[in-house]
Every structure is written in structure tokens, then in C-alpha cells.
Symmetry: C2
DNA sequence: GCTAATTTTAGAACTCCTCTAAAGTATTGA
DNA sequence: TCAATACTTTAGAGGAGTTCTAAAATTAGC
């Protein structure tokens, strides 16, 4: 279940999102999408790419993360002021946030159940429900 | 149940938080705590204070909001990158976030029920569970 | 009041992120 | 195959929101 998707698939996913498969987008897509579920910041991905000798600017990392998010390949999770993660798990799930370390992690399976949801106020629809369970060190 | 708390109470609440009741803190506390449930940004509170002829710098507004939060008089809610609200409702409740307007609103009563919560990972405790229901315009 | 501790402040600085416009790359279709 | 065209990348400037600095002002305790 951790099977890496083949290269051809990443290429296909970019194409069907209407994104040209450039050197930078392909490389970033492979880092993101062929390594299981990940929660990365733009800075993290940027330095990871540089370490892998992928020449890419920070602006392109931001552009790419937003394009992938708009295309539904990623989802953005905001946990604290100035701390935005991009999540490769686009399924319906929720998060643990470790306040000390800043780490964000999926809550496995159906361990969170939102039992009742309010009706959307008139004229609106519910786009998404985010549940963040904030953790501290046990006192 | 919208009864404004008397001035003496605000003063008392600052004292018991170990905060000197300065001109600025008293005035900000009154704006925040004597007007029902509110969700304000630092900038909003700052301009509200200036309009009310309370001389106060933006740095002091930030300091005060954080001190009040640490003292348990407020709670901070982050909804989007660079968008942090301070909430005068410190009870257990959840939020609607209107993505178009940027408005944050309490979900009334018990209209959200988090039915099952996961066990905290070992070595940690759950500090808080935030549920944010993100709304868009009905298509 | 006088003194010591705390608070406020303007403005600089910082972090994260977006914009600009020029150079580079991918795609199209003759 | 190769312009012509459209899109993408980039360095660096710019911006929003927030924090820091250190000097002046206020508050508290005697
Ligand atoms: Mn975004
Ligand atoms: Mn804070
Ligand atoms: Zn996730
Ligand atoms: Zn609230």
C-alpha cells in the first residue's frame, strides 16, 4: 500500500490538470506523490529539492504547490499563524498537530467521527470540515 | 444574557491574571469583553481603539491580545495563512469560516458533535480540538 | 514623592509569501 | 523541422502580518 506510482502516472496527472510537465513540476510531483502520505511546508520542499539537485526557485515551489492544490492533487492545512502545510492525502481525514514540534500527522482511519454537522447558513455550502486535534506534552 | 460586565469586573480579571490595569489594557479589555462574543483581528481592534480615541500602538494591541490569551480571557483561532482571530468566547465551541468574506462565526449550541476522538499518542495530551466548517457561496 | 519594576511606543526588523518583468522552455502546426 | 506562440521559471523587489528593540512613560510599593 506504499507502492510508488510509476513516473508515467505523475506525468499523466499533470497533463490532465492542464499543467505542462516541466522539469520542475515533474521533479516536485515525484518528491511529493511518490513517497506516501506527506505534510510539507513550501520551505521544506524547496530545500529537499535543492538537496536532490533539482534546480528550482522558492517562487516556483509556491506556484507549483498552489497549482497542485487547485488541481486537487494536494490540500492545504493551516495550523498556526505562518504555518501552512501541503498534504498529499486528499481523502477525507483529520489531523493531529504537535504544538511543541510543529509536526502535523494524519489521524488514522475513522478515529475521529464528526457526529452531527450544522446546516450551512442560507446561501452557503460547506466546502470542507477541518478537525485539528492539538497535542501538548503530557504534564 | 448579553449583559455587559461592570467595569470593576474587567479590572478584577486583569488583576487576577497578574496584569497591571493600565489605561490601554483596561480600554482594550472593555472593547473586547463588554460587547458579547467577538472574533477580531489585531488590526481590527487597533483601528477600533483609535476610533474610540484610545491612544494605543499596534505593538501594544498584539502584546495585550497575547497576554489575554495566555490568561485565558481569549482564545486564538487561525483560519488561513496570515489570518488570526482572537475569540472572546473561551467556552467549548466551533466555527463557521466564510471563505469569501473572511468572516468567522460561532456555530451555535451543540450543532457540531465530535462523536469519537482518537486516543492521544503516548506522551501527549489533547490540548484542544478545533473544528472549522469552511463555507463557500452556494453554487 | 522616590524608587524599582513593568509597560508602552515608534520604528526597525523579520518571516512567509506574492508579484514583476525578463529570460527560458514547451507546444503547435505549417 | 522549426518558427511562432503560449506558458513557465526566476531573481529579486515588494507586501502583509507580526515581533523585536531600547528608550520614554506609567504603575506599584514604600
Ligand atoms: Mn494558497
Ligand atoms: Mn500568539
Ligand atoms: Zn493529512
Ligand atoms: Zn468563537
Amino acid at each position: 500500500m506504499t507502492a510508488a506510482r510509476p513516473f508515467a502516472d505523475v506525468l499523466q496527472r499533470l497533463r490532465s490538470a492542464g499543467l505542462r510537465p516541466t522539469r520542475q513540476r515533474l521533479a516536485l510531483a515525484k518528491l511529493l506523490l511518490e513517497n506516501g502520505d506527506r505534510h510539507v511546508t513550501a520551505e521544506q520542499l524547496h530545500s529537499e529539492a535543492r538537496q536532490a539537485s533539482i534546480p528550482v526557485s522558492l517562487a516556483t515551489v509556491y506556484n507549483t504547490l498552489h497549482q497542485f492544490t487547485d488541481a486537487g492533487l494536494l490540500r492545504e492545512v493551516v495550523v498556526a499563524p505562518g504555518r501552512s502545510y501541503f498534504d498529499t492525502n486528499t481523502g477525507d481525514h483529520h489531523h493531529f498537530f504537535y504544538e511543541e514540534s510543529g509536526r502535523l500527522e494524519d489521524i488514522p482511519g475513522d478515529q475521529v467521527v464528526v457526529g452531527a454537522l450544522p446546516a450551512a447558513p442560507s446561501g452557503t455550502t460547506i466546502r470542507r470540515v477541518d478537525v485539528i486535534v492539538r497535542l501538548g506534552e503530557r504534564e
